[in-house]
Amino acid sequence: MRTVKTLKFKELESLLENIQKPGRYINKEIGTSSKNLSRIKDPCRIVFTALVFPDIYEVGMSNMGLQILYDIINRSSYFTAERVYSPWLDFEERLREQKVKLFSLENRIFLDCFDIIGFSAQHEMLYTNILNILNLGKIEIIAEKRGKIFPLVCAGGPAVVNPQPLSRFMDFMVVGEAEEVITPILEKVKACKKNCRDKKWFLKEIRKIDGVYIPDFYKFYYFKDGRVRSIEPGYKVKRAVVSDLDKFNIVTTPIIPSIKIIHERFSVEIMRGCRRGCRFCQAGITYRPVRQRNAVSLIKQSIEGIRNTGYDEISFLSLSSADYKDINYLVNGVLSNLKTENLSISLPSLRLDSFNIDIAELIGSGRKTGLTFAPEAGSQRMRDIINKGITEKEMIECAGIAFKKGWEKIKLYFMIGLPFEKYTDIEQIILLVRKVIYTAKDILPRQKLKRFRVNVSINAFNPKPFTAFQWAAQNSVKTLKEKFDYIIRNLPRRNVKLSWTSPYRSKVECALSRGNITTGKVIENAWKAGAKFDNWTDCFKFDAWEEGFRKAGADIDFYTTREIPEDEILPWDIVDIGTKKQFLLKEYKKSIKSSKLQD
């Protein structure tokens, strides 16, 4: 029988000497709900689940998804969930030096003592961290080589809508929303444990559950150049979707982090899905259909959450908050009920137009920190191509109103390297920024003009699976660099702050998101060459990735700068995302048409 081994507090203490932010590793936050180990009579009857966010504590704790699963799992008397995050570089070094295996936060259970380890893959740039965590836990990274059933290793989250890149490492994956499927899966783990079943039995048992993808049960045939020739068997994995969001309440007693994290606030998901249909947007497809939570019960739960946590900020999350039909009612309802609590509200995805500037003002309540616009493209032509329904007139009008009401900071998000882009489109980005500055100069009094700031953020376009642009080519690093250069040279300096992501990083991200089975080897090689924390500018090592591709005998351009023919079988065709490929193709064609219309 496996025993549950833990690290003693004394041992932890000796590891923490001279470690940065030891608070990341100590647990004891308010709101944790894992089972107390000393009260577990028979560990064989409890399923020990590790929920892993493969980034540091401050990032992982800011993510809502795992807290929801944590809550569901720990409510059951047969399951217990504990959290695991990536140790920062200094602590990793200490663990390796002292030969101590990675452990969970709550009871400091060593990773390899869990029955099941679930990774949250929020984006592709976390893949190497996943391998690093397994390795720190002294767990074999390759699924095939893990003979014994436990620990089972699985992954979920937005990135696994294309499960191929992680297939090499995972026993199974969950595509889509895990709330409803987590319990049936863990029930099977429990049965497996009780009756000493093997992995084959377990995987067979869960194969019919929505969203479950088991790499072992599919066979991919490839052409020599890496294109998929055929997939067997033919049936697809159906994305798991929660039909009635109101069945799952907001977690009103979340874990309250003791150290400062990225988002310190009570988060409330008000709606899932977005019906705007921007053609580059993956979330717009993979979170369909649009589902709203009931406003009355949201107000009740918001008040409860604020009272339970003591937070002074509440954040209403969705992909496009202004589309939530009762947004005014909700904001007013919460504010009027918590008047004395000095509460601030944030709506991170508020899409701005003159209508909801009123909401922006209502929630700004004095702190006019910054308004965000995401026009994504500079020209109307380009916005038509990507189907971003916002006009320049609207934006300028809205900025004008904002300046009149006292805002002095504006954020603008753009993408470059979009399909059918020309230099005139990029020029228009610069013009648009200028127009915003002129508007500010017209309206803002001198005193305020000094503080006036436009933050321009520019990202390279990544063609993502399950978007209308999934077939499109990414610009080469060279082209992207030229475009960035052009913008840097021509963007006004005064009052403007420019930020952008490295085109090398975008390239790797693109290659991973459109990856196939070989990508798993690439990830493994890159990690062995030192890649980790790829999302951290200072940690990202393109060399390691180049080596990763070379050693796997793969060409990174095959995944990135190649336009994929529409009749090619895609590695992610194995997933039934809920939207037909035909629909995406139709949208792609519309964008081509619209690019020609305005030539």
Binding site: F9, P22, I30, K260, R307, N308, G310, D312, N342
Partner: protein, 230 residues
């Protein structure tokens, strides 16, 4: 509305010693909010709760005596306040005392000048060596360290079951050297480094450090922050 200023004393133990001053500040403020105590906020664009803490303690050291002053907008008994707070706080971070104080009471940061730390020392070769050293040259060096209030340096040997190798040393270090002398803030880590180097020669190491109390100098006497508001 009636404004009440409360002074409270709390402990910081075990895991919580790894949390910074700012972390503890946020944890306490959220606990006050959860307890439903009406806090007074500062005016302005970014209102902040009216709360002031005693001097930060170094990361990794347990404390039996941390202090804070909080202004609230309700009539609340100090004992009730302790109860309300302690239902919201973990056992590693608990209030132990509280008092309603005058609104013009001098702030903790400006008033506190002495901290009492106790060091548990472990030695492999117990007995005379260390004691003699302490009575002699080594002790002198400790006493003459600018951060140490030498008149109150105390060394206790703890006997008992098989622990005669454990020595307790109580050191009163300045939390802040008085302004008249110089403007130095007591840097625990500075002193600690010096001290560890010093005792190394005696085969002694520091096993455990505990911050026991903080004091305010009043009429040439040391008083705790709770005593001065009596």
């Amino acid at each position: 509305m009636k404004e009440v200023k409360l002074r409270f004393k709390f402990i910081k133990r075990s895991e919580y010693k790894y949390l910074s001053h700012l972390d503890i500040t946020r944890i306490i403020i959220r606990a006050v909010r959860r307890a439903g105590v009406k806090i007074k906020y500062s005016e302005g664009f970014n209102p902040k709760p009216k709360i002031n803490f005693s001097n930060p303690i170094p990361l990794g050291i347990e404390s039996l005596a941390e202090y804070a002053d909080l202004v609230i907008l309700q009539d609340l008994d100090a004992m009730d306040f302790i109860d309300m707070m302690n239902t919201q706080l973990p056992k590693e971070l608990k209030l132990v005392k509280s008092k309603v104080i005058a609104s013009k009471t001098a702030s903790l940061m400006s008033d506190i000048s002495v901290c009492l730390y106790s060091f548990r020392l472990k030695t492999l070769s117990p007995g005379k060596g260390f004691k003699d050293g302490f009575d002699g040259e080594m002790g002198e060096k400790v006493k003459s360290h600018p951060d140490i209030l030498n008149s109150i340096l105390k060394l206790e040997f703890k006997k008992g079951y098989n622990v005669k190798d454990i020595v307790f040393l109580k050191l009163f270090g300045y939390a802040k050297i008085f302004k008249e002398r110089n403007n130095r803030i007591f840097k625990f880590n500075n002193f600690f480094g010096f001290f560890q180097d010093l005792i190394k020669g005696y085969n002694v190491r520091v096993d455990y450090v505990l911050k026991e109390e903080m004091f305010i100098f009043k009429h040439n006497n040391l008083k705790t922050p709770m005593e001065v508001v009596n």
